[in-house]
């Protein structure tokens, strides 16, 4: 439905609802922390940012006159290829999948011995992979700085004029 809609408010609301549904999907797959993030960022914050952007620009998508046959063929081809690629993947929750038999089991057995905390994800993120998480935090800060510079700078200049 979101594909044929031209009214952007409805499209944004639908994508927020889609995020909420995928958050529930993450809960079903036992990734509760990812579900938190998806619900708060995908359904909450980014919907608000999209609405703010829409308030600044236009409400309705422009009509396009171009033919849609070629893009449709390309999208279908890519979709078929992606589905073909998933056929080789291990089943969901399979005990002999590469994720379970290599490093994963090592971390599961040594994290509690090393740190005494039951949440292995936190142990890996904050301690074993502390460098990566520091980098990620810097990336978040840089992204924020970029948005602040791009969006707040112009306003200050306009006020001076």
């Amino acid at each position: 439905m979101a594909l044929t809609l031209k009214h952007l408010f409805a499209v944004i609301m639908l994508s927020g609802a889609f995020s909420l549904v995928s958050a529930m999907l993450f809960v079903v797959m036992d990734a509760v922390d990812v579900a938190f993030t998806e619900a708060a960022v995908g359904a909450g914050v980014s919907t608000v940012l999209m609405l703010a952007t829409m308030a600044l620009t236009v409400r309705v998508q422009k009509e396009t006159k171009r033919a849609i046959i070629l893009p449709l063929v390309v999208v279908c081809l890519v979709g078929v290829l992606l589905i073909y690629g998933t056929l080789d993947m291990p089943n969901f929750g399979a005990f002999d999948s590469p994720a379970q038999i290599h490093l994963g089991s090592t971390y599961l057995s040594i994290t509690y011995k090393d740190m005494g905390i039951p949440n292995v994800v936190t142990g890996i993120l904050a301690s074993y992979r502390g460098y990566d998480t520091l980098g990620e935090t810097v990336v978040v800060l840089t992204a924020g700085l970029g948005v602040i510079l791009l969006l707040s700078g112009l306003k200050g200049r306009k006020d001076k004029e």
Partner: protein, 146 residues
């Protein structure tokens, strides 16, 4: 949103609950799902909700723009200084054993709480600052204009 009385009353109640849940996700992250990133976005969502319903001026009385923008950098500083602390006491960068060398497990606990706090602070205030820079440019709209 001048006349939405129900939304305002519910928002006042919900903001406290959301922030409390965010703090739980932040500081109980060693034991239950969650951590700095999750807690940060949850707490930021509380402020953004308040901003949508009560208006940008009111949320900026609680959380000024300059504070959000500067506090975002403090989080990275907390994280990095935890690593520097380890170096000063003769361990590797971000080796939490330095915090309590006799009890390495305690050191890991404190270290993880500290760096997660740093992540949480950065994510919270970056999200709020991004919201401010978007919302600050949006003209005031009546309900009908949507």
């Amino acid at each position: 949103m001048k006349h939405h009385l129900i939304l305002k009353v519910i928002t006042k109640f919900m903001v406290g609950v959301i922030v409390l849940f965010g703090l739980y996700v932040q500081f109980h992250g060693d034991y239950s799902p969650g951590g700095g990133f999750q807690a940060g976005v949850i707490i930021a969502a509380a402020f953004i909700l308040y901003g949508i319903v009560m208006g940008l001026e009111n949320v900026q009385k609680v959380m000024p723009i300059w504070f959000a923008q500067k506090a975002a950098a403090v989080g990275v500083l907390v994280y990095a200084l935890t690593g520097v602390f380890s170096i000063i006491f003769g361990f590797e960068f971000l080796n939490y054993h330095a915090i309590s060398p006799e009890h390495p497990k305690h050191g890991q606990h404190y270290g993880i709480i500290l760096v997660e706090l740093g992540v949480g602070i950065t994510v919270t205030f970056v999200m709020i600052a991004i919201y401010y820079s978007f919302a600050g440019r949006t003209p005031r709209l009546d309900d009908k204009e949507w």
